[in-house]
């Protein structure tokens, strides 16, 4: 560690390409698993959507981990750097929970107090014919 100030990242003269390809196959494999699950769900309605969403989120985080750790090489940096990036990123945990919780609460409040909104969101409509009328999104009562 004596040459730390002579320009970073030069301690390892040769760069191993084996983990790159392994990471590529992992990422490709995870994506294929996601697509297979989605296709199975389309055909058979199994597994249930909420189970599937949980699986998707875990697989997405796994992919993110591999991209950051191997492609961006963060796993091979000093722990100081890893922690300086990982700690702020933990804000996302609060960020996600707070805002999704809030959104859910908005939905419940609106369904409780806005009868018109509930009625609107239960009325089935016909798909407008191709290009004939202005897309129906301009109806009153829909959010702009």
């Amino acid at each position: 560690m004596e040459n730390v100030n002579s320009g970073g990242g030069h301690q390892t003269p040769s760069f191993d390409t084996k983990p790159i390809w392994r990471t590529f196959w992992v990422l490709l494999g995870i994506t294929l698993v996601e697509l297979t699950l989605a296709t199975i769900h389309l055909k058979t309605e199994f597994p249930p959507k909420y189970v599937l969403n949980g699986i998707y989120l875990i697989l997405t985080l796994a992919k993110a981990f591999y991209i950051i750790a191997e492609f961006m090489h963060l796993r091979h940096e000093l722990k100081n750097l890893i922690m300086s990036l990982a700690f702020p990123a933990m804000l996302f945990i609060w960020f996600l929970i707070a805002f999704l919780w809030d959104g859910n609460s908005f939905r419940n409040l609106r369904n409780d107090y806005d009868r018109y909104h509930v009625e609107q969101s239960k009325t089935k409509v016909q798909k407008p014919a191709e290009g004939k009328e202005e897309p129906a999104a301009k109806r009153p009562g829909t959010a702009e």
Partner: protein, 224 residues
Amino acid sequence: MAQVIPSGQKWWSGGKSPYNVEYGKLMMWFFLMSDAFTFGAFLISYGHIRFSSNAWPNPNEVFKAFPLMGEMNLPLVFVSLMTFILIMSSVTMVLAVASGHNGDQKAVTKWMILTIIGGLAFLSCQAWEWTHLHGEHAWWGRNPFLNADGTQSSTNFTNFFFTITGFHGFHVFSGVIINIIMLIKNLRGDFARRGHYLMIEKAGLYWHFVDLVWVFVFTCFYLL
């Protein structure tokens, strides 16, 4: 874990670089951190609106087209192709970084060209998808798709889709520009003269970040 650190190392008492990365690379990391929060804010506001809606369009109904396949029902196929292109170009980018580490100027050129081609291919795919959706009357402020349960959908769906994929596409576009600049500098021999290819590494960090964001966009818009 390439680096061996003696136990009891006092990183913050001076005389050592506590991060042991070059300044520009560290700043790139912190820029990407802030950019991650920008994208996070976009995606979480999308999630917030989706959680506050009683119903939402089914992505498999909306994104089912493939170029030259007409009206065939092919959900997920096109976006899988886009994902594959971006992962592949990420791989060629790491290989460029690896060649830079080994000081191999020719190999850097080769992998940078492939990375740029991958980025342009991804942008072309996105251009096609946007054109297709626009042809179906989807755009900011108008949404021709119904909710999955057949009820009237709001324009939130298209607004978020075009804003977030557009912002990501803009990142890909600027990434391609950065990569082209790096390629030109490499061809001029700037890095070879400097003795290191750290600029390629910094461009690579940005490029992988674009791939990283796409992983989340892919899940949020096409799978969930």
